[in-house]
Subunit: 214 residues, 2 copies
């Protein structure tokens, strides 16, 4: 049996979801806790340690992200499925970022909801069809691109120095870390700026940030 906690500020919604989860045929889902606020939810989850938490995104005293943060802080490892009327990108991203393994809208049908709970319980990722697209878009858009042609012009040592420069280390620090003199660091830094056609380490920091080399 999959033990589920139900978090939603409307008792009616909770009742509806509970019905769908428990009364469908061959259901292996059991609702072991319910709550309507962030505070109550954290309490209930910590106490009952469910396998899966089905959680509304917007609650009277906070969001699903607050609930997740609260229970993670207390060492609970339940998996979270966010359930919301909202399909706004910011809501979705915020909750996913907090650690939810799935996000479905309330337009979902009963059997699909049971299925979603099962999949989340298995560690799988579940999204409503409409959401899958831009979640993956956001995902792929935020990964570093592998090829940086200008970077090949730098020698190995120069790249090493470049990375430390981009991270904001002072020459003195870089010299210490690489066990070389400040003057050598200056030489490499100079070569880096010249080859990348930049005029200061500050432009270099921006350059590196754009290419996600930090």
């Amino acid at each position: 049996m999959i033990r589920v906690a139900l978090i939603d500020d409307h008792a009616l919604v909770r009742a509806g979801v509970r019905g769908e989860l428990e009364e469908s045929e061959n259901s292996d889902v059991e609702v072991v806790a319910e709550a309507g606020t962030v505070a109550d939810a954290i309490d209930a989850i910590v106490r009952s340690k469910p396998d899966v938490v089905v959680c509304d995104v917007h609650l009277p005293d906070g969001t699903a992200a607050d609930v997740i943060a609260g229970v993670v802080e207390r060492g609970v490892t339940s998996r979270f499925l966010a359930l919301s009327v909202s399909d706004a990108a910011t809501d979705v991203i915020h909750v996913i970022r907090s650690g939810a393994r799935g996000y479905v809208t309330k337009a979902i049908e009963g059997p699909d909801l049971v299925n979603a709970v099962r999949r989340v319980n298995d560690g799988d990722a579940v999204f409503s069809p409409r959401l899958a697209g831009f979640v993956l878009d956001a995902f792929s858009a935020n990964l570093e691109s592998p090829g940086n042609p200008e970077l090949d012009e730098l020698t190995a040592r120069e790249q090493e120095v470049m990375r430390l420069l981009a991270r904001g280390y002072a020459y003195k620090e870089i010299a210490r870390r690489l066990s070389i003199s400040i003057k050598t660091v200056e030489s490499h830094a100079s070569a880096v700026l010249r080859k990348l056609q930049l005029s200061s380490r500050n432009e270099l920091a921006a350059w590196a940030a754009n290419r996600k080399l930090v």
Copy 2:
């Protein structure tokens, strides 16, 4: 019926997958094309325009990413489900980044594979349980956090100067752009560093880069 193209360099694997997809009960899947190389795959997909492409990650003359790039370039909008023996993070991320909507390993069972194809066809995201975790981890780690509490401590003007500092502009440049004196820029910069507890503009650049404020 869901029209599917099957890309894998081993005919035996293709036969096995085809069997699983077409011969399971109530199957609504139809294999309309097959190929074993990147070149053949692009040809076959462009010709048959399947709903879903089930594609091995490693092919003799390239990868699934190459196939996706090739057909997208030709205006085909089929959805891709990557199928591989590999569960290496780099493989997964590379393929997802190219636009695949799902990634499952070959350890998947027949009915689950049919289900995965259906879900991808619906625009949903599908991952093998083991993969869902770190795909989402990579995803969330690469999204900007909406709330930057320390940022609220900065006044509007200080934030403005901070952004320009992070972009690598010299004080002189910032002064010119904001039509104020260098000394004023220094004041704001000083306040920014103090409030963010940073010791130099170079650390600030790294700080801003991490929070994607550039």
